[in-house]
Symmetry: C2
Subunit: 549 residues, 2 copies
Amino acid sequence: MNQSDKTWSVSPGGESFPLPLPEEYPGEFERLQQIVQEQRSLGREIVVVMGLGFVGAVMAGVVADSVDRDTGKPMKFVIGMQRPSVRSYWKIPLFNRGIAPVEAEDPEVVPLIDRCVNKKKTLMATYTDDVLSLADVVVVDVQCDYFKECLGNVREGHAEIAALEDSLRILGEKIRPECLVLIETTVPPGTTEYIAYPIIKKAFEKRGLKDAEPLLGHSFERVMPGREYVASIRDFWRVCSGINDTARERVRKFLSDILNVEKYPLTVLDRPIESETCKIVENSYRATLLAFLDEWSLFAERNGVDLIKVIQAIKVRPTHSNMIFPGPGIGGYCLPKDGGLGVWSYRTLMGYDDEIFRLTPMAIDINDTRALHAAELVRDALRNMGKIVAASKIAILGASYREDVGDTRYSGSEILVRKLTEMGAEISVHDPYVQHWWEFEKQESYPATGHSWSRFFRNQERLSELRISKDLGEALDGSDAAVLAVRHQLYLSLTPDDIVRMAGRPIAVVDCFGILYDEGIRRFIELGCEVKGLGRGHIRRIKDQVQKR
Amino acid sequence: MNQSDKTWSVSPGGESFPLPLPEEYPGEFERLQQIVQEQRSLGREIVVVMGLGFVGAVMAGVVADSVDRDTGKPMKFVIGMQRPSVRSYWKIPLFNRGIAPVEAEDPEVVPLIDRCVNKKKTLMATYTDDVLSLADVVVVDVQCDYFKECLGNVREGHAEIAALEDSLRILGEKIRPECLVLIETTVPPGTTEYIAYPIIKKAFEKRGLKDAEPLLGHSFERVMPGREYVASIRDFWRVCSGINDTARERVRKFLSDILNVEKYPLTVLDRPIESETCKIVENSYRATLLAFLDEWSLFAERNGVDLIKVIQAIKVRPTHSNMIFPGPGIGGYCLPKDGGLGVWSYRTLMGYDDEIFRLTPMAIDINDTRALHAAELVRDALRNMGKIVAASKIAILGASYREDVGDTRYSGSEILVRKLTEMGAEISVHDPYVQHWWEFEKQESYPATGHSWSRFFRNQERLSELRISKDLGEALDGSDAAVLAVRHQLYLSLTPDDIVRMAGRPIAVVDCFGILYDEGIRRFIELGCEVKGLGRGHIRRIKDQVQKR
């Protein structure tokens, strides 16, 4: 066997797996045929999940874990499918041992996959797309990213729909015409009808299936990274649609079989473009709510207002309870891109030449660049201590995009690190949840998002050596500034005395997420620190009080 | 007595009251002094409410109705104060009879005022500002409008702060230095510290009170027109602040005495600019949430999506439950102006030259012009029936800005009527809650908002004759188009057959507020009507289905 790099795939745990050779495929398919035949004889529906990423892997587990409501017996057999690549092939052998190929804070993920693979025996994975020909249902969880040409102008960019189109082409070649194809990926509105339908219809025609109408449906996920990950798929409201009456009814039935629809009723919409739009609107809504506070954050800083207290005062109103302070930026996989998919669809798939979108793209632009202002606060706090960024060591506390998860995709901290590095800072990072900050470790092709912000900044070379420290003291030791960037539980309980002791001297402190109470701010100032914070215009007042005494 | 128009004030009910003559003022003040002396001897605090408008009148009632939590006895005596003008003087004699000077859907308003004036005897009104010298607390409910120079560009405009400044000047001249001044008006952030404080401080100095520090506080109302009006003042969360420790504590105590703070705890913020900003942020937030859907509404119309169903599907998420379809525009007194007060403050009171506000003013601009697109739909629906707006009679169903209230301030329907009139339409209007559409009846100075949109449109002369019909059949009779503009209960239960019968023929129907279910749309089409709707792109699909049959 050729042992060159190209044919091995290495898991994050360091285990190497040889990629399958062409001559292994027929055997794999025969094995699958046999398994499927057995499963069919048990009355089970064969479900293939395409794409074993963040969503697909857990969705496969949820489907495989589902049972008939009357008999309590499993009625689905699930095969996860991932085409073999150096980057991802390792997922398949691990999956087949019952090991979840995704890291998750949710303690339910590991036992779910283990249970379905090893106990219930309703779940497996394969690398051959021939498996599609055996499916009754295919769930498509292939990524569709949005590529931004600029930082702060989401209109300049495009949906990266090629991988999805490839998958759809293969589907058209392989599936039986009566197979239901359920697209779960968040896609530009219109994708099911304007991209998937013609691709599969034409493939059917090429196969001589002239009268076969592709049975296409769309139902987006609403997964939320964190400790409720599985529940966010299974125990949450779903929206679905089908391209015609048959497809719509098949989708409704399939989702009703696998999800907790009694407690979280399903919404069935007429057309795929309606459910596709639904996902884009709901995430753009949230992106807009968050972006809205950016300008008020600046207003607050400049005019003596503590926006954190203002938001607390507003949030008591039930109609305003979803107001959230935006921190140093809005990350996660969805909010930075979904609005872009909408804007792109209107122009590209729908063919309109005018610009009807004003708030949706502006919100993304504001969110994407918010961290640049956090860097300004670091600069100004250092300046007040007679220092400059270029000659400073800056400790970033928190790398993830959200509190108490290890997900770093598009986090505000990333932009902050890039900007401060561009300005010449030496950066150390601490995060209790993040093992690998892939965005820096493998800039060309990290698994999370596919492309990197690094191209928008200079001086980024040094960052390939950036490692996340698990030791807060190590990260803070000798630093000139500390940035409180994420509301991780650990940081909420840190005291100013802790931080100054670990740093070894008074430092500049920048609170990006309303982490410091007024007493904390006061204590930092008493200890000789310079404190600034996003949206925290009252710090000057506290400083005056301390200095008056 | 001179009986010329200038010295009489006529109530909406038609009763005429002579304005007080200069020689009557001393007597009125003596009477007040006597009353106040009696009330003080009962241990009661003297509260003067300046401004008996929408908020002040009911606030006066709420204060007068409050009792000591231990003894159950009234501890405040309230005097409503309104300077006598032809437009408003009638409020005072009516108030003193126990008649509420505001129309309200809330059945609690009328008995509240009656009870306090006639039974508890804790409430009265006067026209002389000398009463201010007798006050322990003055609550300022003087309007502060925002004047827009253009339609659709809120940046071009200014806060109309002159009336408030006048009131503050009088306060500075009259009040005792230990009197607490609580500003309840929604004001540009900074008003209490940057406008009120210097005015009153200088007036004190002029009076020789060199060391007296004005006791200023700010606490905005969150009133909501409708059936819960009184509760929205008394039984709702309040935010307050004071200009120094004494003022802050006095405000906290005063509000705790009169409001249901046990169930709805008070938020005490440090500085007036923080509570002033709070109000502007919370209303701008809501304006932005609503504006956000405008572009998606257009996307939906053009691409076969029913945005109403999409919103219903999204609203099931608790984090998104405040999503509301914006209808033909966003009216009411607050949402169209409050963001403008913020933008104006930043530039004018705070003295900044840059533009940090992007979403806040854009949201208002979008909301202010949304009704223009509703007019486009009317035009297009008529065109599909071979008609033009200029030769059509158009019935507008709903004049108020919100369902099931009679408040027409800045309603989307107003802009729609103005635009269709500009295009030459003949307009009829029905609304079960609105007696007078003041915006048209007295264009130069109607009581609601002080200035009129009429200047942005041509052809508005005819509108001075516009009257609201209480008879739906009369409004619809012979019309070419009907616009469902407000979600009034009555309209939700109308059937297409009803409407077509009342119109006397198939008409163009434009649904501005997601009022029609799909069956209603289908029935209208079956009856030969042309149907369009804001955000309702699926109507074309229903039409195709009907025509295929």
